[in-house]
Symmetry: D3
Subunit: 331 residues, 6 copies
């Protein structure tokens, strides 16, 4: 039977400026949706796993739109709470060449930030679940959102479900009074797989060291239940050209994936979430080296389509890992 993954987090509407125009001149927007953790759930659903996303959405037609987006992409909305409020938005001006992509956020005071842990039906959401995933964005939004994250981790732990956290530090969030060091250690305490780079480990856990591998060891000493660490290494020559590699530290060993050269990038937003989904899929189903290869290939494919979510199937990722499909015309 297929595995089930539960994710928790806000979903934003993304309004993209089309055709290489600037935001300050556009007369239309393309509409898509995304949120770091929902992107992970959608990607896993496209790999054939069961996915359930916990979130709150406004009780109007925009909330309805997002709810349909999740459903359309194979994610159960049993964890979706509908209530009064507004939907968060972000505007994307896609970069090209030496011009960087720019995001304008309009994500404060949203319905999600007002989600109370009592509004989620934890038994229904976690029924039969194998994995729970959250990110460092959620506890940065509001006290309620931080509470709901902690509660979810406790509910997962209670049921023996593996947990992962993408401890993504976002300076512009964290405006409700708490700082990362007040909150993140309590969450990492309940986390089995940690994804983050040096800056994230420093800001969220207060661990400072030049070398990522050493960092991981230092974190593991403090949080010995952590089973694996991972991150991607992105070398960005321009908005259109990046190199991408994955590394994982697990059971005292480092695993490094193949490096992909990505030219003619279509859309890099959500590349990290596609990686995260590949990592979860791999840890549930593959050997370590295969895991980093699968995860990085998933992320590369994400860069080739429009929108925050990876629409590739498991087979498509496997074909890229094997190198069979690259440059071919599949009839």
């Amino acid at each position: 039977m297929s595995q089930k993954v539960v994710t928790l987090g806000e979903v934003l509407m993304r309004l993209t400026v089309p055709n290489n125009k600037r935001l300050f001149q556009t007369v239309n927007f393309d509409v898509t949706f995304g949120g770091s953790e929902a992107n992970v759930g959608v990607s896993l659903a496209h790999f054939g796993l069961k996915a359930t996303h916990i979130t709150a959405l406004p009780h109007n037609d925009l909330g309805e739109r997002v709810s349909r987006f999740l459903k359309l992409n194979g994610v159960s909305n049993k964890g979706v709470v509908r209530k009064e409020g507004r939907l968060g938005i972000y505007y994307l001006e896609s970069g090209a060449m030496q011009r960087p992509s720019r995001i304008v956020y309009d994500r404060f005071d949203t319905t999600f930030g007002d989600l109370d842990e009592s509004e989620v039906n934890w038994d229904v959401v976690f029924k039969g679940a194998d994995w729970f995933h959250y990110s460092g964005i959620t506890p940065a939004i509001s006290q309620k959102a931080a509470d709901v994250t902690l509660r979810a981790l406790k509910e997962a732990r209670k049921r023996g479900i593996t947990t992962s956290g993408d401890i993504n530090y976002r300076r512009n969030l964290w405006q409700y009074g708490k700082q990362p060091l007040d909150v993140m250690p309590g969450l990492v305490e309940l986390t089995d797989v940690v994804v983050g780079g040096r800056v994230d480990l420093e800001n969220c856990l207060g661990i400072v060291n030049e070398d990522w591998e050493t960092n991981c060891k230092m974190v593991q000493e403090k949080y010995p239940h952590i089973k694996a660490f991972s991150k991607t290494i992105r070398n960005a020559m321009s908005a259109s050209r990046n190199e991408l590699t994955a590394v994982m530290y697990k059971d005292g060993k480092m695993y490094t994936s193949k490096t992909y050269e990505m030219k003619n990038i279509v859309d890099r937003i959500g590349g990290g979430d596609a990686f995260m989904a590949g990592l979860i899929y791999g840890l549930l189903n593959l050997e370590e080296q295969q895991t980093v290869e699968f995860a990085i290939a998933a992320s590369v494919l994400k860069h080739s389509t429009i929108g925050d979510v990876n629409l590739s199937s498991k087979e498509e990722v496997e074909e890229l890992v094997s190198g069979n499909s690259v440059g071919r015309l599949l009839r």
Copy 2:
């Protein structure tokens, strides 16, 4: 020399669902901008008057976009304050036939609601002004917005500038503690031309009567400096077909315009603001009967283009009043 009109109010981004689709299914939006009072200013600028709009806009690329919108439409942005915050948004699902148009608002906690009267340079804005216009929407947004409206009216009065108010009652606003009856009488006290229907007069001024003309007389007894009252009468057979008439009560006389049958309506949003602009233009330049004819024709033309603002020139309105242009192909 051309006359100058000053307007005050919030400008929202309007995201319209294209091609007769529903909001809950759309994959793109057309982007335009509007706000009741800015629409009046834009329309007057297209008639050839000088227009200056007082508002607050976020200090990001969306604020830049709105600022360019005003400028592009001939409105001076000497009254625009740029500061941190968010831009209000409304989503429009255009109706057709028996299906009504639907608006979803996302307009709370915006930059405009945080505009402080001390941030406006009143001398610059009112320099050489002949008319000041506001609406009942602004004082409904926040205490600061109500304060800025009152201040603007006082500044206008001080300079001997004629004032008009579209006392538009919006039930869903007024959420900051005050009620219309707490605020509106103080504003009407300083208003020379009042636009509103029976429901507006009841909610904003506590005047109740079955007959609009009697209503106007009752209001005028209480606020004797008011020089004129006006409103449109809309008979809406469907989203696509309406009839429209204007009435004005001035110096003890009623003036009624021709009734236009509007079939194949393109976009009715902003129809009232186009009327308001026509009314101001008329009161500044025309006889009474001509004024209602000009104002209602301006409103009709607005219904034939996309977007909140009336893009017709004074000559185009005059041609419709004269009946010369209807159904012609102008080469």
Copy 3:
């Protein structure tokens, strides 16, 4: 608990020529999906009922596309069989004014026509069902499709489920050797609610009479278990203007709805299916007169949006029945 309706039938891809162009010159198509019975299921799902659709779809990305379409519109795909084959298509050149709409079909030899009754899991599909609906299109496609229709009716009867048939006669189908009179009587034998006009009753059941009410009585004498007959009366002045009325004959009485004048029609395809869904909803939940009023209002709303399916909610239909929403701007 919400009622459940099961529908059976082919889903076609609809390729629409945009912007009032002709099919023989177009350089792009808008893509939507539809099928008489699936349209009924989708509409009922939008009214808040549970809907399950039985169909067969190709095992490629086009089949995936249709499957997502059903899911997105709230219809369970537990009755969807995926197998090798092709997806049926129809091309729509939308008419305007005195120019009629034109459809080009490419719907032969499809996956659906090859659906074997043994491929459907009848227990799963009919679990908890309250109603089963089919149309005269399905038995016209292939022997297998006729067999699957008969089997579905037997499965429904066995479980005490109410059945309806839209006995839609389509001359261009029926190419596999059988004629309507060979097949339809056996299906009507198991049908509780029959929708059809005089031409349909004549071609499918061999009943000939000038007057529809008399026709119904004659059919009922032969098939005494039939509980109700219904049809719409469409008076088409042009592609853009129609009048629409519903009639129902039930328990010896005729019920006639209000007549709607539809000007500025957006898309009439699927108008009959929207009516059918309204009728089923009404017979399950409303009095007779309310039923015809609800059904015809549902059909009218369908004409105001693009695509085969009615996207209106139950509340939106009720608002049109009550006349409250017409011509309003809902904020």
Copy 4:
């Protein structure tokens, strides 16, 4: 064997503002092509006749684009001369409701105005021809264009080919020194069928009378070889609603067509040319009353599609004349 019609005239590029926007704000144009006489040729080609158009086009990719347009629409380009110069352009802002359509011309100093009668291979062009058609626009463009028109009429007369002229008076043309009364009488002298209203007859032939029938008689006295006169009567209630009727005076009798009420007009440009093509088709193939009915129905159908040219087939026009197709859905 199918009949052959030769037409002569300039083809312009038409740049249309899409989506009910104004010309002064648009960020894109739809591209089509048209010219009064070419429109007639294209329409006749769509009726199944052979059509050859005489014109001059620039020797660049825009000229290539127009050449392909003619070819695509079934018109032979054996009469197309390619040479240095520019292509004429017109900008169309489509009206709606009470807002009139507006055209901005950029059509002076074009390649066509420089076409020399010696550049046309008259033998090739007129080989097997049955009819020649011109309009009053061509002689208004330049002396060379007037010369080429006269030459074409002489070549046609020499070969016994029937001729028609749409003596369309355009005040804004005629800027090369000659006036209509200097040129048009010489052309009408060689014309068998004259299309024009009272204003045209007055400006082009100096015939003044209140009543069109009397006018025709007066013209015929002066130019006794003229066999028929015709015109359309357009009653324009708005840009979206017109009534249309055809009249023809032939052999001393008046023929009047059915009057069509056109609501929801898509595009009226080229309506007169579609009528002209219908008239030519009728005079070649039908009785008089049938001729006016066919011609007016052709014109009505033109109003239902985008672009200057009528894309209807002969069968489609006949179906409208018979009333069979109106409001139907043709499968």
Copy 5:
């Protein structure tokens, strides 16, 4: 006088998913047309040669659309047979970066597969022809299509016309009972110029060898009338980046073109057909080395435009061969 080339083969409608979206999510398609052999004809027409294409198209508006496509691109449709049936379709999801392009075919039971050799007017089609071209796709479609290919080769041979075959092996076709080895040798027997790689030569002619040059020699021993062999060598690093080289074996000598590095590929579909057209043009007009240079440059230019067909003129190809135009801005 310009040379004339006759081509034979099916034309499919191509429905392309726009904007880097996936097929399973798209809401619109761009419409173009193509078929291996028709692409060759169109390209030759753009080089200035006469081209006539033999095919069968349905007798509906889609068939009309394809017929207009050929005409628009300069290909005579004297070889087009119109009859009942359906048009074949293929769906293209354009790849990007490491994501391969994907094609879904819907091309069985089409009008073309039912084309009978007796329906073609061979005398008209081959009148004045210099070259006949077919591909291995046609005989793979149906027995009738194989018969028509053989008949065409015999008709060409009878008239002394040079023949070429692109012996393109497509595994998914060949479903009517015959295998390539049953059919292709009989066709190659009548072929002067063979285009194919090792896999094609093996599957179609049973010739197996590691080295392409040796292969050619072995084929030539068996089919001594063959005058030349050619193929392209594509090195595909990603969907967006390929290297392309041409080789030709003729009169015992190998000719190898310059290798082009193609970055930022726009559309690779039809690249082989553009090469084929360049090869035919070269063999008719150029020396051997010039021929491979012209053919490969033609193919490279095809990759820079949307659609199956090469829209480059002979001069544009020559400019690329000379290297003069690359990277320039031509004013």
Copy 6:
């Protein structure tokens, strides 16, 4: 206070073929505007300087459209003369890969070419100005345009304003009787900063030498008041890939910028004008080496957006110079 720059020159409408299509097949155009000198003004306005453009525009809605374009981009239109005439146009078919971009001009006999020096209000235009810029395109258009350029230079000199000239030689212009050597020396006489390559210096000033630095010295000997020379060096590997470097000769020294490799170019039109604006900004505000770095980075950013004008802010250019923003995602 911010610096003020005055520019003089024609503004053309640019009609761009979208989506990698060819001009001879397109069915729509994207509309933008540009002109070498206006592009410089717009770019400087985006850097935060005051800009005023001197030009003539037609008195119709197209002229209105251009006027709004300037205003929207922050350029004062106090120097815009509105009069009868036509707007110049250019058509752009954007190249890709090895296919070059192509421009078709339709720019003769325009309103601008008819601008008389007496129609400009020189006092208003030059009030408070710090810099005046022209190009070699203007004196090539007409005698009047050459006169207006000379007059502007004299007016600038009179007021002690620094002047620059981009002495851009365009062979296809200069059709009114004069040659560059008749006119350009008189203009360079009044020019402080000269931008041009070897070909320009040869054609405009008759200075011939292999080495650009030597050329500059030779020119300076003849025109000793010239303070600086500059140009860009473009190495164009394809339409999609170029390398770009700037050089400046000033006070006897050569300054060379960093070389940028530009892959995935979006639109190169206006790249030189963006450089020119960067150069003016630098000479007014920066040291020499900083100036060439700023100017070349401005040009690179222009290549990443659609349209003739550089929409980058000063801060965005500075970020590229510093290398901080490249490849980042700015939130």
